[in-house]
């Protein structure tokens, strides 16, 4: 296990980070807001497989073992080598998307991870969706935050990973990734209020990113 951990850190420091900085590029705003230790919950918009890659490279390599991207078991654990990569190399935390009645809470694994002091990386949109568009946040994140009201929830707005590698494409094209780190939130005691806070925090962060559209024409 320790060998694998060192292997992952070496890959992160010698391959992943140089790729993120030099092949792509990082336009990172408010770096000082990134949590420096667990437990914490990272919330980001999701447009590309590169989102996870990008978020993992933002943190110090020494934190790598703490970082747990929460991912759909049905998509990422289809067995074989790719499952091994997802679970062991990337270190995803698998959750089941469909809830079976007799089963216990599918988010149990997330609670355990936070108790261990891990940093969860969650994409509340559920799936990647259309390139560079944000869809509605699912409320599972509120259930996790409610269990851990003292854990900081840090929203991060990501841009351009969906252009570099959109859903359904296989060749990543170099773009500069924008990652804008938000102020940490904590669970306010009410689910609807929490989701509202999260959505408005994301909207504020999006305002700081390049608009990537022409100003409206006056006719």
């Amino acid at each position: 296990m320790s060998l694998l951990q060192n292997f992952r850190k070496a890959i992160m420091a010698l391959i992943c980070k140089p790729i993120a900085h030099f092949w792509f590029g990082l336009n990172l705003l408010h770096k000082e807001r990134l949590p420096e230790k667990g437990p914490a919950i990272i919330i980001a918009n999701h447009n590309s497989h590169l989102d996870t890659f990008l978020l993992l490279t933002l943190f110090k390599t020494s934190l790598l073992d703490r970082l747990k991207p929460v991912a759909a078991a049905d998509y990422f654990l289809k067995g074989g080598f790719s499952s091994w990569v997802s679970l062991r190399l990337i270190g995803i935390l698998p959750v089941t998307r469909e809830r079976k009645r007799e089963e216990s809470d599918p988010l149990q694994a997330c609670y355990r991870a936070l108790e261990r002091g891990d940093i969860l990386i969650i994409f509340p949109e559920g799936s990647r969706g259309a390139p560079e568009e944000m869809s509605n946040f699912k409320t599972g994140i509120a259930r996790i935050a409610r269990q851990f009201p003292e854990v900081p929830v840090v929203p991060i707005y990501l841009q351009n990973a969906g252009r570099a590698l959109p859903k359904g494409k296989h060749i990543p094209v170099p773009f500069v990734f924008t990652a804008i780190i938000g102020e940490a939130l904590t669970y306010p005691g009410d689910r609807a209020e929490f989701m509202d806070q999260l959505r408005s925090a994301m909207a504020v962060l999006k305002e700081e990113a390049p608009p990537l559209k022409w100003p409206e024409q006056e006719s």
Binding site: L26, N27, L28, L29, N160, R163, V176, P210, P211, L212
Partner: protein, 321 residues
């Protein structure tokens, strides 16, 4: 394959020592201010970045033409990537993005071959035509013109115009006496950055009358004219020592280069304003993106190069005159 590890000429060495000396002095002044409780973090970041930028230019210049070409190609890649990343390109145009990146090694290859004629037309004619044609092949016509326009503008500024900086290292040796080609590159870079800094300092100190408030609100007539005069003086005096330009043509350089630097700066400001961005990225602490630092150079490099070749290299025939 061997590139001779040529020692830098005395002229280049003097220039390099002076640059580092000036920067060292500025850093010492900053540290002194900080001791007394002053000095902003922004200034510290900016000074720190200057150490990195200058070293990134100076080391390959001392190593020779090929290392410099490779580093400049990478800088073009970074600048082009920034340009394409802040503009509203269409998601379907990913193949054109790849094609645009490929013009960088292609152009570098022809520079390396000293194929001046091909370098002159590769991006402005053939990449121009080929990319537009490629874009028709997948049949999406919505916003065709703004989309291809982004690529054309990005390539001209970040690949073609910056290519002139690299090409200086491949000019015929000997036309610059013992100073060598690296001294010419250093001169172009110093004059361009000096103009930026001089305009900023003059504007900060004496700026009153705004020159183009809707494009670049911090630019003033006082900064523009003060920068023009300071850089012009520098070019007129130092130009003949570091480059083949002599009296009276150095006066032509002195008059035109500061103007080109200013125009490059405000043109990129107009583009950024239209796009709704302040900096092209956060790559260089205290400066913004690579493109923010290179904006003046994208205009001064081709102008400088053509003036130089026209006055000192037998017009465009590329031999010593």
């Amino acid at each position: 394959m061997d590139f001779p590890l040529s020692l830098p000429s005395n002229t280049s060495l003097m220039a390099i020592i002076l640059i580092y000396g000036l920067l060292g002095l500025a850093s010492l002044v900053y540290l002194f201010q900080k001791q007394k409780g002053g000095g902003s973090d922004e200034l510290a970041a900016r000074l720190g970045s200057w150490w990195v930028i200058i070293t990134l230019m100076v080391v390959p210049l001392m190593l020779g033409a090929l290392p410099f070409l490779l580093v400049m190609s990478f800088i073009s890649f970074v600048a082009l990537k920034e340009f394409l990343s802040i503009t509203p390109g269409r998601i379907e145009d990913r193949p054109i993005v790849v094609a645009a990146y490929l013009t960088i090694p292609l152009q570098a290859f022809f520079i390396w071959l000293h194929a001046y004629g091909i370098f002159l037309v590769l991006v402005p004619v053939y990449a121009f035509l080929a990319l537009a044609y490629l874009m028709t092949t997948y049949g999406k016509v919505e916003r065709f013109l703004p989309s291809i326009g982004i690529f054309h503008w990005a390539l001209m500024t970040t690949v073609y115009n910056l290519g002139y900086v690299s090409y200086i290292m491949f000019l015929p040796e000997g036309c610059n006496g013992t100073a060598g080609n690296a001294a010419i590159v250093l001169f172009l870079l110093i004059a361009t950055q000096l103009n930026d800094v001089a305009q900023y300092v003059w504007g900060k100190s004496f700026g009153k009358r705004k020159i183009l408030p809707s494009v670049s609100p911090n630019k003033t007539w006082e900064g523009f004219i003060g920068g023009w005069a300071s850089t012009g003086l520098f070019i007129a005096v130092v130009g003949p020592m570091m480059t083949p330009m002599q009296f009276p043509e150095n006066l032509l350089f002195a008059a035109l280069m500061p103007l080109a630097g200013f125009i490059g700066d405000v043109t990129m400001s107009a583009i950024k304003r239209d796009l709704g961005v302040k900096d092209t990225s956060s790559l260089i602490p205290g400066h913004g993106g690579a493109l923010d630092r290179l904006d003046s150079l994208t205009f001064t490099a081709p102008l400088f190069f053509h003036l130089l070749v026209f006055t000192s290299y037998g017009s465009f025939a590329m031999s010593c005159s």
